[in-house]
């Protein structure tokens, strides 16, 4: 899959993890460049990365502020995109990860409110990441048994979804989370 990101400058904020790393590699391979930290310039695309392995006690407030500020800068300039890498648990809370699920839901709602506030010049979307990698680099092993595809996903499958959301022809999609979870959040994958 290829999208034309030539001349596009990416900003990155948040959790450094293998999914975010490869996503940036794929974006660069499609022509984008990465803005290094410390610059005051507003990126064309801001990638906001949350911890994708469930962990309690994460604090999302700083990332909320960073995303909102970057969004305001994009509005002032007249264009931009923000993409959040969230857990699919943002829309399907997990019993064993209550605080983590709650914080993901906070970010999901932030994404949706930003999409409304920053429209129409700035598009804001999210990828809901399920169980990824073997061994897992995102999600929880419990997700795999209820994902009807019957396997964990690959990092490439997440990265390509981000590429789709970044695509120059993808211009009417905002305020959405697209989950890459093999069907985990679609319903009950097992027979009862």
């Amino acid at each position: 899959m290829r999208v034309d990101l030539r001349g596009v400058r990416i900003g990155f904020q948040g959790d450094v993890n293998p999914v975010a790393d490869l996503t940036i590699v794929r974006m660069v391979a499609n022509g984008a460049s990465v803005m290094r930290g410390g610059t005051a310039a507003v990126p064309d695309i801001l990638l906001c990365s949350l911890p994708l392995v469930p962990v309690e006690g994460i604090v999302v407030a700083p990332l909320e502020d960073v995303a909102a500020a970057a969004g305001d800068g994009m509005v002032a300039r007249g264009s931009g995109r923000i993409i959040f890498l969230l857990s699919a648990a943002a829309a399907m809370p997990m019993r064993r990860h209550p605080q983590y699920s709650m914080q993901m839901a906070v970010m999901l709602t932030l994404m949706r409110t930003l999409a409304m506030r920053l429209a129409p010049r700035v598009l804001v979307n999210a990828v809901g990441v399920g169980a990824i990698g073997d061994p897992l680099v995102a999600g929880d092993a419990a997700m795999v048994g209820h994902a009807s595809v019957g396997r964990p996903g690959t990092i490439e499958e997440v990265a390509d979804t981000v590429l789709f959301l970044c695509g120059p022809a993808n211009t009417y999609l905002t305020g959405q989370m697209l989950s890459v979870d093999g069907g985990w959040s679609a319903g009950y994958g097992r027979n009862f």
Partner: protein, 259 residues
């Protein structure tokens, strides 16, 4: 976006229609052998001539026999079906009334095409697709009204909500066989058919449209090409871990409450 659908056979119902034409074009541009399936065979033929290897097929999805004959013709030509885009659908622009006044025959007509037709078409295509043993993709075209109800079009609202949940049901049942099912929920889409509803004679938004667009963050209707882009992604090899999802391509309409 450019993907490699090289040689995959893609059936697009309603393929000669407003959104269907762009779906056909994007799939064909990315290497698919596209079947333009439409009740309007002349329109399907005209479109199919524009793309190498494309085929026109007259199918009325409300008629099981028509589906059977059509799918058999596709298999006779290509021997397989890899991608099904259930795009055909209707709404009533005449009967804009509350449910207590909704004509039952019009209810039946819309449900029979938008929900029953999608079920029948999917079943007919799944038999060969499962037999091929190589998985496949199904993309259902629902509507945002299946996510957020609107007044005065109860059968369309009910049918599209049905399509969305049927999508999830299909995803759970077919995922283990490698067939991935997802849905696109388009918002308000500009086409020749809806242009007259949206615009005043001077080309500006009609007053009612302007009021409605205040609820849509992007403040405009979408285009068929913007829907087709999402269909192309879901049909592509890159979307191989996305199953049972509904993507609202709606300018942010369902992101939240705008006012």
């Amino acid at each position: 976006m450019q993907v490699d659908l090289g040689g995959q056979v893609a059936v697009v119902t309603g393929g000669a229609g407003a959104i269907g034409r762009d779906i056909v074009r994007r799939l064909a541009e990315n290497g698919a052998l596209v079947v333009v399936a439409d009740i309007n065979l002349d329109g399907a033929r005209e479109l199919a001539t524009q793309f190498a290897g494309a085929m026109a097929c007259g199918i009325d999805i409300a008629d099981a026999k028509s589906i059977r004959v059509g799918v058999a013709a596709v298999l006779a030509r290509f021997g397989r079906i890899d991608i099904l885009v259930n795009n055909a659908g209707i709404n009533s622009f005449v009967h804009r009334v509350n449910i207590d006044a909704y004509p039952p025959e019009e209810w039946n007509r819309i449900i029979r095409i938008d929900l029953d037709g999608l079920f029948l078409m999917s079943g007919a295509v799944l038999q060969p697709m499962l037999g091929q043993g190589q998985g496949g993709r199904i993309v259902n075209i629902a509507s945002v009204v299946g996510l957020a109800a609107m007044r005065l079009q109860s059968p369309f609202v009910a049918a599209k909500a049905g399509v969305i949940h049927l999508t999830r049901s299909m995803a759970l049942e077919l995922g283990p066989q490698g067939i991935l099912t997802n849905a696109i929920a388009p918002g308000s889409i500009m086409s020749d058919g809806t242009r007259a509803l949206f615009y005043a004679s001077d080309g500006t938004f009609a007053a009612r449209t302007a009021e409605f667009m205040r609820h849509v963050p992007l403040g405009r209707p979408g285009t068929p090409a913007e829907i087709a882009e999402a269909v192309l992604f879901l049909a592509s090899p890159s979307a191989s871990y996305i199953n049972g999802q509904v993507i609202a391509v709606d300018g942010g309409w369902t992101a939240g409450y705008m006012i």
